[in-house]
Amino acid sequence: MTPPVLEVKDLRVHFLLDEGVVRAVDGVSFDVHPGHVVGIVGESGCGKTVTMKAVLQIVEPPGRVVGGQILFRKDSAPPVDLTRLSPRGAAMRAIRGAEIALIPQEPMAAFSPVHTVGDQIIEALRLHERQWRPTGPRLSRHEAREMTVDLFRSVGISMPDQRVDAYSWQLSGGLRQRAMIAMALSCKPRLLIADEPTTAIDVTTQAQILNLLRDLQRRHGTAIVFITHDLGVIAQMARYVVVMYLGRVMEQGSVADIFHAPKHPYTRALLKSIPGLHVTPRTLLPTIAGSIPHPLGRPRGCPFHPRCPDAIPGVCTERVPALRPVGPEQLASCFLYHQEEAAER
């Protein structure tokens, strides 16, 4: 088995506010293997965005990584612990953009309004040249432009030689997102992080972009971490799914396991509450009781217990369940499945 590209082990990110400490990510672990798509799904406050920022080392103060490791493997080299690198240091900057690329949620915000999209990609190419082309003569401006045009073509942008000279605000939503994907892929990263890349675009354009991502991923074998709240998108894109809630992983497993045999009460309730195209219309949806607690008002014990229909009093209210296997590839953090642990004093 090829070793994973990314191993997140017991990651903890805390925000130190005047009012208290917010445990945004509180012990999250998962692996990303080369060529796989791992989907991280959760609602607001679950910590999926902060996890992504921690991997890229762009967590803003007052947030800080306070524990755990993020091991990143480049080819056959020994893994690097990203939490040990200085966020602004040369080592991290070499990784960010070249080895690990980001497709952000809002492409308009990610492109500079005063530079053409082509220029920004050329800048990235030249900046990280030594990573994707370790030997050979330096990249000329002409070559860089040619490469950019090719990139645009490969992501399905029509009239690429003209679009290279366009500004981001001149492009439609779909085109901008494609340009963003081109930029992310320009330096041939090993890992791509897609942070809600299709939330801001129309559903027909979303279908195109998802097709594109699947296609590119098959061709280049890039590993993708796909972050979203849309369970439909996860079902179509991911091979492996991580379900997060209030900074912890509730359940993770293959996409078939999660959707067809969910074990954790949160996952089950979430799946039932989606108004799908296949659900009988105009009936009451089963909902999860209560609402997501305030980040400073974390419940004791299992974070989901106040809303859980199967909570075990005395156990779930007191102790935090660990992530344990519940199937060949599936893990869940729930006392319902770990009787010995629940019985433990």
């Binding site: 559903v203 279908a207 179509q236 799946l271 659900v279 105009r282």
Partner: protein
Amino acid sequence: MSETATPWLLEVRHLRKSFPIRRGFNRKLVGTVRAVDDVSFTIREGETLGLVGESGCGKTTTARCILRAMTPTSGEILFRAADGRIVDLSPLSRAELRPLRPQIQMIFQDPFGSLNPRMTIFDNVGEPLLVNGLRDRRARLERVAALLELTGLRPEYLHRFPHAFSGGQRQRIGIARALATEPRLVVADEPVSALDVSVQAQVLNLLLELQTRLSLTFLFVAHDLSVVKHISDRVAVMYVGQIVELATTEDIFRHPRHPYTAALMRAVPAPDPHAPSGDAALAGEVANPANPPPGCYFHPRCPFTTEVCRTERPVLREIGAGHLVRCHRAEELALTGASADSGIPSGQHR
């Protein structure tokens, strides 16, 4: 339109709204964006009409014209008022509209911008009451408390400020405010789009319950097909300012007759990994409302285009009981819709 026992509450006829595009120093008119381009439909009392479409289709503009938050360029908006009169809302002035305002209210998309952050919940929800003559503070307090309970919130929350509440709770407060004056028509503009999945379900359930309890009539604008399917009795699909299909929910989802409707359904990713992925995704981009293609607006992206589609504009016509389509080839095409059997457990019946 067809006749049934329940009278219609709102009839929109040939509604148009255009925005001028001005360039240059002297603001010369260089074009128009036809945001709403000849839209007609009716809503019956007690029903929910879903208005669905992607960005730029004109659904929000249509909703705002109906509310008279903007003035339509042309067309009629016929509303059956509480006293039985039928009023055309579109030419009315601000002063003429004022007595009708309590009868048509809106639920907003953004829970964070729709409540005045400087006013308490009591002030926010009580505003429509105060403005329409209920000056007695105690009476208002009682009514607001009742409205909060109706929407699932504790009445003690009256004196809190919006910043103390989550998105879902703020939407409930927004719903309470919309119901304060006992409106006959409620226009909901993407009320659940900005909410988390689990909260969406709660708010949708609330809207369904309130509709039954208070016999409300909804115009539900959304871009999410699954949500629209869940809450609407009839659905209208819009594309670039026009209605391309209008039918009952069941009809439109089982047997869509317009290629765009079918494409929209195919594009929605199903929460089932074994469902076939959208291999035949719709090509191209949404047409530009300032410069729509000749003939049928959809023809550049349509897999079934023929010569007539390129040259002649199709009209909205009835091809089945209550099923309207704007397509030259509607009779010939056999399109697939979303299947009704589910692999995911469905909710309980009411």
